[in-house]
Amino acid sequence: MAEKKVTVASSVGLHARPASLFAQAAAKVGVPVQLTSAAGKSVNAASILGVLSLGIGHGEEVTLSAEGDGAEAALETLGELLNTDLDKE
């Protein structure tokens, strides 16, 4: 199991636009990825509804985890995305 802790950089948190971009990216990495909030709730990172349900705010630390071939690379890609301010257009 690969794990990566990331701080969410999006200036207003993982609301609709960043959550949607993140979930779309998670669906493309090739391995199932879990997103866990600071409160300890886990969801499928590729589910927009799941990501939104966590209500993750700016600066919150979340954990990404995945298993199998390519897990490390997938977490690297998604971690970078969360480290980016996705609200910048």
Partner: protein
């Protein structure tokens, strides 16, 4: 989440719900969702154009036949108060290739939308509740479903 979070049912006025709508296009559907927010004075009219701008930038389709049209950050000044509207399209709308049955218009000041979206997503993540909401024909059913998420809090 802060204590200021209002329950979804309180944000959704009965006059902002239309459970038997049809729309000629995605933009028409968004304008109807915007009109529901306008009707309760939650936004000024400029916000509706911002909702379409947002949709053109990134789809607000969430899965489960639901879209959550809302304005851009730049349009925050057009929001007067936090509110939801709900438009149901029994025949579905072609929403950039997705079949949308429910459009929740969203107006939120400040960071209120994070908690609001979290509450809404939590309801919709339950496939049975999402299906019941897509099939709802009375406002009583809608309110009962939106309030049901408080159970495990």
């Amino acid at each position: 989440m802060t204590d200021e979070t209002k329950p979804l049912a309180e944000l959704l006025a009965e006059t902002s719900i239309n459970l038997d709508a049809s729309a000629s296009s995605r933009d028409d559907a968004i304008r109807q969702a915007g009109a529901g927010l306008l009707a309760v004075g939650a936004i000024d009219e400029a916000y509706i154009d911002a909702m379409i701008d947002r949709e053109n930038s990134v789809s607000t389709f969430m899965g489960e036949g639901v879209a959550i049209p809302h304005g851009t950050l730049a349009a925050k000044d057009s929001v007067k108060s936090d509110a939801l509207s709900l438009i149901r399209f029994p025949d579905g709308i072609d929403w950039d290739g997705n079949d949308v049955r429910l459009a929740f218009g969203i107006a939120a000041k400040g960071n209120g939308h994070i908690a609001l979206l979290s509450q809404l997503a939590t309801v919709l993540m339950d496939p049975d509740k999402a299906e019941a909401l897509r099939a709802a024909t009375t406002t009583e059913q809608v309110y009962a479903l939106l309030e049901s998420e408080d159970e495990d809090d």
